[in-house]
């Protein structure tokens, strides 16, 4: 009897659990689905007062219209360039700094570590105006031309890393000391230890940070918004925001298709790499 009732309680509890899970997945998933379905709706379907979950006959033309409404090939080029260069610089900086902090001797090393960590506390928002002034006036005074609306101005302020350095340093310090000592005994210099021992063994954390960095660069908004002044220099995020301001609430189908252009590459990355990203962020949080 007792067994029977606890079994029933467990079944009941399980069902409740699945129900809650379905509810949560719906709440999170429906807006994404709504974007996809909206991007395929005809104007008539969008401005009908009945919910149309799936468009009766998908209007792929929204994507063509969106692509022609703004220079999206240019936006893509800019986003890819900014992300590729920005993330590469971040990854290189983080790896080298972490290696130095973990394995090289230097007077006042801890102070340098603290200086790097403290930079985490400086919000980008406090630095945007001074950095804007820097690329405008200071650079102009130095070399006779302003760097506002250039790729270097979009990329450089984001090329230094604190979070990634911290993440990698922790992981490098956890590498088995014997392997590194063995390499040293074999006469390996620091470049070889870095290339043959630390990079291969530290690959998981480097990949994780690379993914986090790529996502952050791709989604960056405020800085590219203020430092770019012409359409040709804007990344996707800023590009669609201007398109949205211009087209507003009059063309939801086209706007949803344009939004999909921004979201799509990241959703693909996420499908393949979600485990790495989640684990990386979790490690950063539970250790930090």
């Amino acid at each position: 009897m007792a067994d029977f009732s606890t079994n029933r309680a467990i079944v009941f509890q399980r069902s409740l659990g699945y129900l809650a899970m379905i509810l949560i997945v719906l709440v999170i998933g429906v807006p994404i689905f709504w974007m996809l379905s909206g991007s395929l709706k005809t104007t008539q379907e969008i401005y009908s007062t009945n919910i149309q979950w799936v468009p009766a006959s998908p209007r792929w033309g929204n994507y063509a219209d969106a692509w022609n409404a703004a220079p999206f090939e240019r936006f893509y080029f800019n986003s890819i360039l900014i992300t590729a260069l920005g993330s590469s610089l971040e990854i290189i900086n983080a790896t080298l700094t972490a290696y130095a902090l973990a394995f090289l001797r230097f007077p006042g090393k801890n102070l340098i570590f603290v200086i790097l960590l403290a930079a985490l506390m400086i919000p980008a928002q406090v630095t945007i105006l001074p950095n804007y002034v820097f690329f405008g006036s200071t650079v102009f005074d130095l070399i006779g031309e302003s760097w506002i609306n250039t790729y270097q101005a979009i990329i450089l302020p984001g090329a230094s890393v604190a979070f990634g350095t911290f993440l990698m340093r922790q992981s490098f310090l956890g590498l088995p000391r014997e392997v590194i000592d063995a390499a040293k005994v074999d006469g390996a210099g620091h470049f070889r230890i870095l290339r043959d021992v630390v990079l291969p063994m530290g690959k998981p954390v480097i990949v994780t940070f690379a993914l986090i960095s790529v996502v952050a660069k791709w989604n960056e908004y405020l800085w590219p918004l203020v430092i770019t002044t012409t359409q040709e220099m804007r990344p996707l995020t800023v590009g669609i925001s201007y398109l949205f301001d211009a087209e507003g609430n009059n063309a939801w189908g086209v706007i949803m298709a344009a939004t999909f252009f921004v979201v799509f590459p990241l959703l693909v990355v996420f499908m393949f790499a979600q485990r790495f990203i989640i684990e990386g962020l979790t490690a950063g949080a539970t250790k930090g």
Binding site: F113, I115, P123, T237, L267
Partner: protein, 317 residues
Amino acid sequence: MAEAGNSDTATIRGESIQIAKPKRNRNILSKEWVLFILFVGPNLFLFSLFSYWPMIENVRLSLQEWDLLSPTREFVGLENFRYLFTHDIFYTVLWNTFYFTVGSVGSSLILGLLIALLLNQKLRWRNTARAIVFSPYMISGAAIGIVWSYIFDPRYGLIAEMLGWFGINSPGWLNRPEWAMPAVIIVYVWKNLGFTSVIFLAGLQAIPQDLYDAAKVDGANVFWRFRTVTLPMLSPIAFFLVITSILSTFQSFDIIQIMTHGGPVDATNVLIYYVYEQGFVAFNAGRSAAAALVLFVLMMGITLIQLRYTEDKVYYG
């Protein structure tokens, strides 16, 4: 030094090795120093140029009046701060920041914990569910702001139509001062729920099973176990999440800029938006810098609280 070393070697055998070693060491050391500077230098240089220097520059700007264009900047002392603290708009902005922060941090923490507790059960598909819940965190805030503007559309949006099922007239959401902030908070929570729940989940999975077993032996029921084991064990993570969430809501810009532009009638104008608006829309560099400084002091205070609290618990070395 050398003499002392020599006098030491006079009494001890094998002294030549003792002397030679530090010499070779110093050689290696100086090589390592060069390498260290090469490796750390670029990162440190970029930080100095684009993080630390701007902080000082920001203080200077906050004491000036400048429209970002004219060749001369006028020193005005504390005038910008006086302006901020004697005008209602700044108090509105501070209140909005508080409202937005408490609303979104509170909701995403409570809901995140509930989701984590759920996904910690042995349910099939829970990893898929975790991935789906996490996915909005990866999506650009700009894109999310646009999609949710459509969802909140007062006539043809999803929410209006769903409320219609129950015969409820949808409020104007983004067009109404009293509804705009709740709408923005909903979107922000929707985006960040994945992060809080995934971190909470990791915290839950780190709690040793023995603790629960022991509590069970003592006859503790589910709620009692939650109160005496789960909550205390989770408190450091919860604290970490509170602080990081507060800091990230302070910096949350894209969703607000796209959905409301700080409006209607400044109902969603938070500090970070105000900094942007004064600097890059009104071209009032001094006022923008002064507001940014206030934002920075607030963030600094919160970070210091975190540092003090986590000092004993986290080993950085």
